[in-house]
Amino acid sequence: MKAGIVIFPGINRERDMAIALEGATGRKPRMVWHRETDLSGLDLVVIPGGFSYGDYLRCGAMAAQSPVMGAIRAHAVRGGHILGVCNGFQILTEAGLLPGALLRNASLRFLSSDCWLRVERADTAFTRHYRQGAVFRSPMAHGDGNYFADDATLDRLEGEGLVAFRYALPSGEASPAANRNGSARNIAGIYSPNLRILGLMPHPEDLVDPLMGGIDGKPLFDGLAAALAA
């Protein structure tokens, strides 16, 4: 799997992401600067977390207009896989590659803690190394992670099986108590209709080594490496 990590000014989680990808594939991912316009040859494009362009206007709004986004759209049209984490998820929604938007956390607090994610389906390139219904721990760190979409969009996402992960209790129950940022229907991550674009707020890349305190996030990267092995 050839992976590339897109770096916008203000992005700060690209090194964590590179460690997770290299751990799964054995090769260093290509680091892609936001002014680059050629992503050909990449199987997976990752937009990592951070505060692109200082979160000016809205989180992800400026990055969605940057030169590299044209190449990311072309990659999507080619059927390429895209992973957007945290600010990367916000950027994908601002760019219109995923529906909905991420609002300020309902509590108004920046949330920096672990959460538990329930795997809604295990037949995608991102989740094939998990079991459906499995719950795994993931760090999260965001101020604007409150997923919003209108009811028709939410119904469509659920009806078409495009909800990737929900905030849940360790028992697997997607209860209000587990939904600390106030996301609609406990949604933590969603897929594009072809299941090749995934956006999620938490950071599975930060739990891929026992030295980090666990390896709950490692199956996501190992699964991607297996699915996209070339």
């Binding site: 809205r58 601002e94 938007a101 956390n105 309902a106 509590s107 108004l108 979409a149």
Partner: protein, 80 residues
């Protein structure tokens, strides 16, 4: 022309910032304050001299960048 674009969260979209401001105003003794909504004001200096064309430009900018119409609505005012 000057264009002023006011961007607000749509009705029905939770505005926790507005709620917090309302609570703070109550704490200051402004007991009569009801719902508070917080938004953004963006001022644009445009080369366009025709008010109608300036409005059309500003609305296009609002739709494509200044507002996220999934969650926000906008209003444009034009002044010479």
């Amino acid at each position: 022309m000057k264009a002023t674009v006011t961007v607000m969260l749509k009705a029905g979209v939770l505005d926790p910032q507005g709620k917090a401001i309302s609570q703070a105003l109550h704490n200051l003794g402004f007991a009569g304050v009801g719902e508070v909504r917080a938004g953004k004001v963006i001022e644009l200096d445009l080369a366009e001299t025709d008010p109608g064309a300036a409005r059309a430009q500003a609305e296009d900018m609002a739709r494509r960048l200044l507002a996220n119409t999934v969650i926000e609505s906008f209003r444009v005012e034009i002044a010479a």
